[in-house]
């Protein structure tokens, strides 16, 4: 079922002719694109191209004005974010959406769904079962937090973390549960280089070993070049190109769209 360009293309996300307007502004304009199962697909484009808006549409945070969105072969247009989460779609936000009055550890521990202790009845009648489940969740969260090298701030309120640390926490939340697709919106912005290498390695590992599909918005072309194949380019709400990073880099039209002016060959 693999192989780009062939008939056997297996799209886990399939966006068909989707548009979203904010007032008079067409943030996403009749956009169609597909993300292949098992890929790490990049999404690049100038500021305001509509990348984050597209993520919001795919993850159910906003509903498209026109067009349909398919996830895993099913029409999910109009589904709520929590419903998509349960189907295996996880996301991070470009502007960190941490739970600011909760500790970093709690930020992670809240993620797993259908926790025993989320039911009032079980909380009241089966405290033992809740405690057991809680121990597992906590261990998992501690593992993630160690991996992200946030161990020293695990009891700090998330609202007090630095910008980069909040970004890491965003990423950490997606690592708390098994996902099919993870949407990463500029997760590397503000994260230090060394950790970035770790993150990239881990994204590749989760992709290869666990079969996660990643859909990644990034402005860091080196990172995109290292991680992503294919790369989709958006400008003014539309997809203008798709292909391996080398091709994209070599395409003068894209360079123009991206930088607003043709770049002289150095």
């Amino acid at each position: 079922m693999r192989g780009r360009g062939g008939v056997s293309f297996d799209a886990v996300i399939d966006v068909q002719n989707v548009s979203k307007r904010f007032g008079g502004l067409r943030a996403v304009n009749n956009c169609s694109l597909r993300v292949e199962r098992g890929s790490i697909t990049g999404l690049i484009g100038p500021n305001g191209a509509g990348k984050s808006t597209l993520f919001n549409l795919v993850a159910g945070n906003i509903v498209p004005d026109e067009g349909r969105i398919f996830f895993d072969g099913q029409d999910v247009t109009g589904l709520k974010p929590h419903q998509l989460f349960h189907r295996g779609m996880l996301r991070t936000f470009q502007i960190a959406h941490e739970f600011s009055n909760m500790t970093a550890l709690e930020n992670l521990m809240m993620v797993p769904s259908n926790q025993t202790g989320e039911s009032l009845i079980k909380t009241w009648l089966a405290p033992g079962a809740v405690k057991d489940a809680e121990r597992h969740v906590r261990q998992k969260a501690l593992d993630v937090i160690d991996f992200l090298k946030l161990g020293h701030v695990k009891y700090e309120l998330a609202g007090n973390l630095s910008g980069g640390q909040k970004k890491l926490l965003e990423l950490g939340r997606t690592m708390m549960v098994d996902a099919k697709v993870v949407l990463l919106d500029e997760v590397a912005a503000g994260v230090n280089r060394t950790l970035l290498q770790d993150l990239a390695a881990n994204i590749e590992r989760m992709n290869q070993e666990l079969g996660y599909t990643f859909f990644v918005i990034e402005h860091d072309m080196d990172l995109i070049g290292r991680l992503c194949d294919p790369v989709i380019v958006m400008a003014q709400g539309e997809k203008i190109a798709e292909g391996p990073m080398e091709e994209i880099r070599a395409n003068p039209e894209i360079i123009e769209a991206y930088f607003g002016a043709p770049v002289e060959a150095a």
Partner: protein
Amino acid sequence: MSVARRSLLLFAGLFVLFVVVGWALGAANISLLLVQSFAYALVALGLNIQWGYGGLFNFGIMGMLMLGGAAVTFISYPVNAQFWGSEGPLMLGKALMALLAGFLLIWGARRADRLGIKGKWKSFVTVLAWIVAYIVYRSQIDPAAAYIESAGGGWVGGLGLHPVLGWLFGGVLAAGVAYVVGKICLGLRTDYLAIATIGISEIIRALLKNMDWLTRGTLTVSPIPWPTPLPQDLQAQGVSIADSFIYARLGFLALVLIILAIAFFLVQRAYGGPWGRMMRAIRDNHIAAASMGKDVTRRQLEIFVLGSVLMGIGGAILVSFQQIYDPGSYQPINHTFLIWVMVIVGGAGNNWGAVFGALLIYITWMISDPVAQAVMNAISGWSTDIGWGGIPEIQSRASQMRVFVLGVVITIALRYAPRGLIPEVVRREA
């Protein structure tokens, strides 16, 4: 100073305040204040769940208290034999059938699209169904109400069951109404809930005040029985009149304390576990919580209903204790605003704070009238002595002072302890 130490000191101070007030007003009065303030603590706990944990505005607490009161009146008041022997029950049964039929009609109209009726026509059919349902219901309930009020025993009376059953029913009734209101309003924005709750509580008041066949309306119902021995019962056993009031009220107080303790334990356990963590996440950032798989609307509904249950029970307890159900006596300032002050001053998001606030504010509210009167009398006497003349109409002036004192208390509290006297504790070890 750690929060635990501070809370301990505050509760100790509160204890001293109650002792001083008790010494000044007498044991019978302070036992009365204690019962009422602990019943209010239950209501404050309910608001703390809604506002402190859930960030939901409920400005219709009065309505929940009234529902609780109506519930316990209906369950525990003695049976009205004249009503049950008349045509009344049959006519009410028909009205109930009409109501159900009306709901079925509306439910059907909302699904008219299955019959191919769409868009504007569907709206038209739905509106028509509402009108028809209303007319059908009124055609049955109006004669039933008129009959009961004139020939059918005046009103339906009660069921003569145990008052504690009535308290539980108060919780159930409040939960039911909260569910419907929340279901309609919570999907939108939480500010709409605030507006809706004001409206709903006024509607509940208008209904209960005017449905004479059900609640006797402004005629009031009394005496509503106690779950524990009444002073009269104790007197019959030879206890002196003065002591009988104290012991009877202490007996009632014990029951209220048991219920408060159970509610407190359950709420505290829920808040300390994953459920509370999820609720705090929703309150902090509902967009992120939704993206992390939490069904925000459903959880907010859960929290709204749970809080309302405690309000319904608290309202029922208050009515039982006062032995009179007077729908005309409910005022937003006494039954909604007061509770908000309790939770804000006590500390939203902290159950100990909510209970503390309830006790402190209730006693402040109750003693500010006599204290103001005493102060004004003293000033008036002094100004008369030096020839400036006394203060006129001290009595009515003093009773206005309650609201003033409450305003001062909340202003000072918000200035010096904006998060409440016993604020929410941010837990540091997960």
